[in-house]
Symmetry: C2
């Protein structure tokens, strides 16, 4: 990769345990269509959420190294809440490029949005158990209540993103969240989507919280906003007339690519193209 290319078109690596992180890639492409993207879903070893920290660190570092060494990534976005929560430091140690997770940007956006200082975070079981969002919110003077919503990922993957069952599941989860917040004397006015699958449920979620006046923060978008600042601070030549439809995107997966290719386009908002199978060992 020569210097001229480098200054014109940054290469951004995006990594997830599955393909949910394609929502983060989509938000990146919307903002930086001139960049090149390499997305790796470590599908052979998902879900990270049920694995120990030591295992996740090893898997995430291998994935990060692939994107840097094999694909020339100059920036890395860890579009995986579990890896961001448990392995961000280790990934930063493993590769010599700027690394951005999804949790800090989500918490920072919540800080800007919240008037009450109380925020609610919905996420998978593993992300909630890590309490990474709570910690990131607390560091910004926010009080956070976290709620695990394990059914939302399978509902998205089933394609029921506009289904009465999903609306009912969301209603049940938000009722439970409200009761738990009240028990802790919290009045959250901001709902952070702490899972890369949840942007596909944004219309249903916004409808569900509208009546109580809560605002929805999508950490995929917050992360992409932060990435833009990072890239624009380093790349003077990042303005481009190239549209998102022409953006160069290569997707990689570590095991069966069928589901990735079948469902990925819903997350990315365009076809993923051919997903290349790679072997990271293990």
């Amino acid at each position: 990769m020569n210097a001229r290319l480098k200054s014109d078109h940054p290469t951004i690596g995006v990594f997830d345990s599955g393909f949910g992180g394609l929502t983060v890639l989509r938000a990146l492409v919307d903002r930086l269509p001139q960049a090149r993207y390499a997305f790796l879903g470590d599908t052979a070893r998902l879900p990270y959420g049920s694995k120990s920290r030591r295992t996740i660190v090893r898997y995430a570092a291998q994935s990060a190294e692939f994107l840097v060494r094999e694909r020339g990534a100059e920036y890395l976005v860890v579009a995986c809440n579990t890896a961001s929560a448990l392995a961000l430091d280790a990934i930063q140690d493993a590769v010599p490029i700027p690394v951005l997770g999804v949790i800090e940007p989500g918490a920072a956006a919540a800080r800007k949005a919240s008037l009450s200082g109380d925020v609610a975070v919905i996420a998978t079981d593993a992300t909630v158990q890590s309490h990474a969002y709570s910690a990131a919110c607390k560091a910004r003077g926010l009080r956070a209540i976290e709620k695990a919503c394990p059914l939302l990922v399978p509902l998205v993957e089933e394609g029921w993103t506009d289904h009465a069952v999903t609306a009912e599941v969301i209603r049940v989860y938000l009722e439970e969240l409200k009761a738990e917040a009240a028990a802790q004397m919290l009045l959250p006015d901001t709902l952070v989507l702490g899972c890369t699958h949840y942007p596909l449920l944004r219309p249903l979620l916004e409808h569900a919280v509208a009546s109580v006046g809560m605002r929805v923060i999508d950490s995929a978008e917050s992360t992409a906003d932060t990435a833009v600042q990072l890239v624009n601070g380093r790349y003077s030549g990042s303005s481009s007339s190239k549209g998102a439809s022409e953006t160069e995107i290569h997707c990689f997966a570590t095991d069966s690519v069928d589901k990735f290719e079948r469902l990925g386009s819903r997350f990315l908002g365009r076809p993923t193209g051919k997903v290349e199978l790679i072997d990271l060992g293990g």
Copy 2:
């Protein structure tokens, strides 16, 4: 292990990618309380369903070898639909003891139960895609329609086994199944539960199919029935006054045991006891 112990108390190894296979173990314990049991959940590498056949064969063989070499298993029950569908031959090659999967017993029970000769199988995406139940049914002169129900496992794991949402999801899936069966000119009178999580939904499922006169076949129970025949054919001293509550059960897992210990008792029908963490490599 000496000869006397061996003739009195067979040791049965039970293997699954997760802990769903505990429903099979439960059915075994109900029928053979005098046996010793070692259950291994390969939780570090679940779900098998998204992995290639080659990978599943390797994982399943390692798990089988652990149960035979380390725990002295004299019989092996593969209480995992994906491994039964894709790796049963390989497991039989890997260990020198009788190996039983969950698919053949389920299909055999459906053959006995069905009058129309048409049966429906509900299972995970991976099991349906393997078409292992279709093949096993066809070999018995049955016509089978398979229906993937990906939301049922997460609903069971969320504990919503008696929830209105789950009843509605089952209604939707069975409506789709009915339409697909009609399109193929099939009139299924038997519903095979082709996933080890589904026995926990049996009351809801039986309620849902009662109106159309379908009978539910639980492949966990069918597998346990087949195992009893296998063991009783070899062990003359298998009658015992020992009740199921005294049965010796050791559970092992390959990664974080929290979820296994937290949810496993619902599947096993009693506490799992301390789950021992083991390392199979990879």
